[in-house]
């Protein structure tokens, strides 16, 4: 391994401009992916926030027996899709209505009878908010004999779900396009490095070096160049993020795990691209 490292760094020393070019190429292509990741992350946050509002509300008949409601509540809470289920009594509903609808406060105060029904409000777990699941949960709750009506804003759910699917598909398509471009660019950068050292490779083969031995320093070189490129991309992405944050609108920075996997991906990408380029070169020789 020391030999491999020595060789890899000797290559940096011998052709610094070529190495810097590779790092810059890798950095710029990963920068595009970084910006895309920030955008995708923020779209996701918005969709999550919107989707978290999805809830199923079951309005209960006035004559619903308390013990049956209690039992049903326990059952609903046990549904695997359900995050939480809250019983809203008629009195509580009135209180909430008075608070949230101040313009009708006078009207409510004059009432002798409480016109509002009791209800069960159900919120679903993340990932369980597709139209099918929401509809299914609503139907199951609606089956209780003391449930008068179930509401869940079907159109809203449908639209959010469609948006999420479009965003997801766009992320896959655009993300893999960026990644492919990055791999091609990194491969080209490494090919330049290999081309600069083709005589050395040829002589190594001539005197009996194994392909593995020839490949190793290039793998290390690819890894280091990939990591350096990823750090550069991180800097550029963060800088751009700060500029947007300060001057346009407040966006969220991606989580640390994304940053870490971005750096790791840079290193691995550099290594894989390098490995492929050397393998191809060795085959063609």
């Amino acid at each position: 391994m020391p030999r491999t490292l020595r060789d890899a760094f000797a290559a940096f020393r011998r052709a610094p401009s070529l190495t810097l070019l590779s790092v810059a190429m890798i950095g710029l292509s990963l920068f595009a992916i970084g910006l895309f990741a920030v955008a995708a992350y923020n779209v996701r946050i918005v969709l999550d926030t919107v989707e978290a509002r999805v809830q199923v509300v079951a309005y209960l008949r006035d004559d619903a027996p308390a013990d049956a409601v209690e039992l049903a509540l326990a059952e609903v809470r046990a549904f695997p899709e359900v995050l939480e289920a809250t019983y809203i009594s008629r009195e509580h509903a009135l209180e909430v209505a008075q608070q949230e609808l101040p313009e009708f406060r006078a009207l409510f105060a004059e009432l002798d009878v409480n016109p509002l029904p009791a209800s069960i409000e159900v919120r679903l777990r993340p990932g369980q908010r597709s139209p099918e699941v929401v509809g299914d949960v609503a139907a199951r709750i609606g089956a209780y004999p003391f449930v008068e009506e179930v509401q869940y804003g079907r159109e809203w759910v449908d639209k959010v779900y469609l948006l999420r699917r479009i965003a997801g598909a766009a992320a896959v398509v655009v993300g893999s396009a960026f990644a492919t471009v990055a791999i091609v660019i990194i491969g080209a950068a490494i090919r330049l490095a290999i081309f600069a050292r083709r005589d050395e490779i040829e002589i190594m083969r001539l005197v009996g070096a194994t392909d593995g031995y020839i490949r190793r320093p290039f793998l290390v070189e690819g890894l280091v160049a990939g990591l350096a490129g990823a750090v550069l991309a991180l800097g550029l992405t963060f800088g751009t993020y700060r500029i947007i944050f300060n001057s346009v609108f407040q966006v969220e920075w991606v989580p640390d795990t994304w940053v870490a996997s971005g750096l790791a991906a840079g290193g691995i990408l550099g290594m894989v691209a390098s490995g492929l380029a050397v393998r191809r070169h060795l085959r063609d020789l």
Binding site: R3, R14, D199, E200, E202, I203, M204, R205, L206, V207, G208, A209, T210, D211, Y213, I214
Partner: protein, 224 residues
């Protein structure tokens, strides 16, 4: 040690380079490959070095068959088969000593061993005083000596030489041939491709294989 059995080699672009060639070389034999350029001399050397595989027939070198040899085994075989070229193929940014050491480094030899071995090899080819010279500071004959020292680094059983004197003047050529003779006398077989018939005649005891357009037309051995 080397056996060609009905070997043909066809290249996709240039067509038939070797046509049904069979011969056998023994250990420590000195053999010339002669013929016009394009006769197939270099192709035979490449096949022995397993840099190419035959289109038909079989090449066997030191127990390895061209049919079955794996990439790793090719690398190991090459440590036992040195190769020398007309254009020397030295690394310009390394000294004579470093060029020779390179052949040992790639097989993972220890540094102390490399140092003593390189010194011995430089002395063997008569360049002990030029260890720190770069190829550009050496004459053609000296560069070829460095290349020979590199080829000898692993104490090969066989040395392949493709027009090794093609770029050298007469005096340098004589020096190289003398070096070959002593290497051969020490037990290393040599296969040397050349179109210089004077050179061949100067060494009457050697085996001669003559090629013409990919066909073996003369074998001094079979004429006895």
């Amino acid at each position: 040690m080397i056996r060609f059995e009905a070997v043909s080699k066809e290249y996709p672009r240039s067509g038939l380079a070797l046509n049904d060639v069979s011969f056998e070389l023994r250990k420590a034999e000195f053999c010339f490959l002669t013929g016009h350029s394009g006769a197939g001399k270099s192709t035979i050397l490449r096949l022995i070095h397993m840099a190419d595989r035959p289109s038909r027939g079989e090449v066997r070198v030191s127990g390895y068959s061209s049919h079955k040899i794996r990439p790793r085994e090719v690398a190991i075989l090459r440590r036992k088969v040195g190769f020398i070229f007309q254009d020397f193929r030295l690394l310009p940014n390394r000294t004579a000593a470093e060029n020779i050491a390179f052949a040992l480094e790639v097989t993972g030899a220890r540094r102390s061993l490399i140092r003593s071995r390189v010194a011995k090899l430089l002395a063997q080819v008569g360049l002990a005083s030029k260890a720190e010279a770069y190829p550009s500071e050496l004459s053609g004959g000296e560069q070829q000596r460095v290349a020979i020292a590199r080829a000898l680094a692993h104490e090969p059983m066989l040395l392949l030489a493709d027009e090794p004197t093609g770029n050298l003047d007469e005096r340098a050529t004589r020096g190289i041939m003398e070096l070959f003779r002593s290497i051969n006398a020490a037990g290393t077989a040599i296969v040397m491709a050349t179109h210089d018939l004077d050179l061949v005649r100067s060494m009457p005891n050697c085996r001669v294989l003559e090629l013409d357009q990919g066909t073996l037309v003369y074998d001094s051995h079979s004429e006895g």
